[in-house]
């Protein structure tokens, strides 16, 4: 009953979206604003409707309606309530529904803004948003219906929404349960964040397409979508960081980033999105890069859709691969149409998007931004070629050759180094005109500080070239950024007579975009410290220990004490080792690396015991064990220096993005308020 209701609502939403698309196009063609308004209402209806369908699905999940095949495949009686809810996005059909729900939330929100000044954009924004919504709805309705039920027919069991002839419904008493790998807090938040990032890029794309269709080539569309883009970027960054954290905690290979095709699929829109965030500033300030910004936002949207396609169609094999499904061809059709239309539209308007100015100096801020964009594109090209290389190789040689992390690391490392360096230089270069001399004058103090730091690192005994270069760059960029802050705060304090804190607060408050950006830069610097630590200084060892034996790594001693094996109430068998950790003879505590074996899914999971400090992580994995613990267990031990800075930097970055995206007071509202106040003052006078 509830399932039928949910499905019915999805179909209704699909029809409403189709109507909205038609009404918007008709309205703009015939010049009848009422039709556009009606399309807008249709779009506003999608979110409440999808929410109803989503509510039905969550109800089925929570109440254990295992006759619904999706519920059966992701939940079980033993699972706690919060997992039953979050298993909503634990499988293909559910996560597509979840995706649609988020997408409709964003597209509905965008119609709620005031459109007075941007009427001409409205119909096209509606068309682009609703086409995307309708496409995903079609996927769910025709191919991946989360409301399908089990039926017993004379020839066997089938999954279908409508009852097949001569069949009876089946009501299983328990479900298969959520994939154990997904029962981690990081995994519960990681997909929603990533999806939010993905879907919110639809909005700037919709505005860009609207600008192209209407031929309004000023930077209005960029100003309108700046905050949307930042929000999209925020969620995408958050999704990537959380995904890394999940991998580190759960996958048990001692790292957080494996250059897996699906990770890269999420990383690629992040790269083009980051490039976009930077280059739009040039268009706003100098009227340059108009075409480039269009290219970037179209690319970002296409990469979002392409990434989703890669993850879900099974074209590439990956640890993230969803079950093979029939959505591939339809997805492909959508991608083809969107890519071709966008490209055609872009080329059609190419001449109108002529830049309004010129670049005058190689070292000016705008040309440094151009280099920044080129570097981001370079990394994107590396990632993209790595992702499709297996396909190309299979086509040409018949053998599927996958490129591994070493390829990506070697190819992108110099580009990342370049980006880090630019991050240091660019904030101090001037708009319009900059020379070596002006730049040198601005940079010498922070550069000096960074050289001092380099000396200290050398004194500490670091000799690896990569690490020295990395730490110098980190120090350089951090000191430039802090110097920028410091200089501006001091200047303000001197000018206004405020104390330093007030000066800092007001400065950052007045220029949230700028200082939010610098804060993000600092976050990246902190992350870079962690990445240098784990990439260059990670050590590992492995050994089979009898009880009482020890293994040593990086000054730590890990002593194996005992192993317990027991059944946990949620259907898993746990082998949990107890090891003592000490360093330089000082006892630091015990760790519990364990191996969980889930009976229902026959899936083992290795959960590390981690001792985590700002300086380093000691990461102990239980690799193998024998039933009798006296025979010993095999441990793999990783020493991951500085890795925590990756997470700290991630949090810092998110904080910076929030600062940058925090809504300003609307200038129009402000103006109206002042006018009102003045009028009031005049009247009372």
């Amino acid at each position: 009953m509830i399932a039928s209701f949910g499905f019915g609502v999805l179909v209704l939403t699909f029809l409403v979206s189709l109507y909205g698309i038609g009404a918007a196009v008709y309205g703009v063609r015939s010049g009848k604003a009422a039709w556009v308004e009606s399309a807008r209402h249709a779009q506003q209806l999608t979110f409440p409707l999808v929410s109803l369908a989503a509510g039905a699905l969550v109800y089925l999940l929570v109440t254990g309606h295992y006759e619904v095949s999706f519920v059966y495949s992701v939940t079980s009686n033993a699972m706690p309530l919060y997992l039953k809810i979050t298993s909503w996005w634990g499988g293909q059909a559910g996560s597509l529904t979840f995706w649609i729900w988020l997408l409709s939330a964003f597209t509905t929100a965008v119609t709620l803004r005031r459109w007075e000044r941007d009427r001409e954009f409205l119909p096209w924004v509606i068309v682009v948003s609703l086409v995307t919504v309708a496409f995903f709805l079609a996927l769910v309705i025709f191919f991946e219906n989360p409301f399908n039920r089990f039926w017993a027919t004379p020839t066997g069991e089938v999954e279908a929404f409508f009852q097949p002839a001569n069949s009876v419904p089946i009501f299983p008493s328990d479900g298969r349960g959520l994939n154990p790998l997904l029962r981690h807090p990081g995994m519960i938040i990681h997909p929603p964040m990533l999806y939010l990032g993905f879907v919110s890029f639809v909005i700037p794309f919709a505005f860009a397409i609207a600008a192209l269709v209407t031929g309004r080539t000023d930077d209005r569309w960029i100003r309108l979508t700046r905050r949307w883009t930042l929000v999209a970027w925020l969620f995408l960054s958050l999704g990537l960081v959380l995904g890394g954290r999940w991998a580190y905690d759960v996958l048990g290979w001692g790292g957080y980033w494996g250059w897996d095709p699906v990770e890269i699929a999420a990383f690629m829109p992040w790269l083009s999105g980051t490039a976009f965030l930077h280059s739009v500033m040039i268009q706003e300030k100098r009227g340059l890069f108009k075409r480039w910004n269009m290219v970037l936002i179209i690319l970002t949207y296409c990469l979002v859709i392409f990434g989703t396609f890669l993850t879900r169609s099974g074209v590439l094999s990956s640890v993230h691969a969803f079950a093979q499904s029939a959505i591939g061809p339809m997805f492909f059709g959508f991608i083809g149409v969107m890519f071709i239309l966008s490209l055609a539209l872009l080329l059609y308007r190419w001449t109108d998007l002529e830049a309004e100015g010129h670049m005058h100096s190689l070292l000016s801020r705008e040309s440094l931004f151009l280099f920044n964009n080129l570097l981001f594109m370079g990394i994107l090209v590396v990632c993209f070629s790595g992702v499709i290389f297996p396909l190309v190789s299979e086509l040409l040689t018949g053998q599927k050759v996958t490129v591994g992390p070493p390829f990506y690391e070697r190819a992108t490392a110099p580009l990342f180094v370049g980006l880090l360096f630019l991050m240091g230089v660019a904030p101090l270069s001037a708009w319009g005109h900059s020379t070596i001399r002006t730049l040198g004058r601005a940079l010498w103090k922070p550069a000096l500080v960074s050289v001092v730091v380099l000396g200290l690192v050398l004194l500490a005994g670091v000799r690896s070239f990569g690490a020295l270069l990395g730490f110098w760059l980190v120090a350089f960029t951090a000191s430039v950024t802090l110097y920028e802050y410091g200089r501006a705060v001091l200047a303000r304090a001197r000018r206004t007579g405020e104390n330093l804190w007030m000066a800092f607060w007001n400065l950052a408050g007045r220029n949230r975009r700028r200082y939010g950006g610098y804060t993000i830069h600092l976050g990246i610097v902190l992350m870079a410290i962690g990445i240098i630590g784990i990439e260059i200084f990670q050590q590992e060892t492995q050994g089979t220990l009898k009880a009482g034996d020890s293994i040593q790594l990086a000054g730590y001693t890990v002593t194996y004490r005992k192993l317990d094996e027991f059944d946990a109430p949620d259907g898993r068998n746990v082998a949990r080792a107890v090891v003592d950790v000490s360093r330089g003879g000082r006892y630091l505590g015990e760790l519990h690396p364990r191996r969980d074996y889930y009976y229902a899914s026959q899936q083992p999971m290795t959960i590390p015991g981690v001792r985590s400090t700002l300086e380093d992580d000691l990461y102990v994995l239980l690799v193998d064990w024998r039933p009798i613990s006296a025979e010993g267990a095999t441990f793999k031990v990783f020493h991951n220096p500085l890795v925590n800075w990756v997470w700290i930097g991630g949090i810092w970055l998110i904080f910076g993005t929030l600062v940058a995206a925090w809504p300003d007071r609307d200038p129009e509202v402000e103006q109206a308020r002042t006018v009102g106040r003045e009028r009031l003052a005049r009247q009372t006078a």
């Binding site: 492909f332 190419w350 002529e354 396909l391 299979e394 026959q602």
Partner: protein, 188 residues
């Protein structure tokens, strides 16, 4: 002509995009789409199903011997995917060896074991533990398991003497008898 002049020229007449560039952009995009379409078709063609001809399987055993399935034409080939970390695999390990011994003298059945995503010492220890004597080797670059698109281990694929896939078993065999009964009808 100095550079300033070029700039002023481009300022006055908006540059039209050369047709070559437009064509090239579309060719690149269509080429990319074609590649993806081809990859999609490959992935949609799905696993080899029962009755399909099985392409040549190449494996290098832990003893360094290279085996090609095409050299074994006319025999029934039992391809078993396993791993030392896989608990359910242990349930059928001894049974597979017993079935191998049962058919060994007939010379009509070949057993091949492929270790899926495993380390050599662990694999060898596993083979020793269960006394397995038929040829075993790692599935290098998971080529063979990709060919069959296995979903996990253990899985067993039995190729008939005509070179076509005759039977598939997902999960462990329950008994030696079950293995023998699956293979017996395929021997001519």
């Amino acid at each position: 002509m100095d550079r300033g002049e070029v700039m002023s020229v481009s300022e006055t007449t908006p540059r039209r995009l050369p047709t070559v560039v437009i064509v090239l952009a579309f060719v690149l995009l269509l080429g990319f789409l074609a590649l993806i379409a081809w990859g999609l078709r490959r992935s949609m063609s799905g696993p080899i199903s029962v009755g399909d001809r099985v392409p040549d399987i190449q494996m290098i055993t832990f003893d360094g011997q290279t085996i090609h399935s095409r050299d074994l034409a006319g025999k029934v080939i039992v391809v078993n995917f396993w791993a030392s970390w896989c608990k359910p695999c242990e349930q059928e390990a001894r049974e597979l060896e017993e079935a191998y011994q049962y058919f060994k003298d007939s010379g009509k059945v070949v057993f091949l074991g492929l270790a899926y995503v495993d380390t050599e010492p662990n694999s060898k220890a596993y083979l020793e533990k269960f006394g397995i004597t038929y040829p075993n080797g790692p599935d290098l670059r998971t080529t063979v398991s990709q060919m069959f698109r296995i979903r996990g281990v253990p899985e067993t694929y039995i190729i008939g003497s005509d070179g076509r896939l005759a039977a598939v078993k997902i999960g462990p065999f329950q008994s030696t008898q079950e293995i023998i009964q699956t293979i017996q009808p395929l021997i001519h």
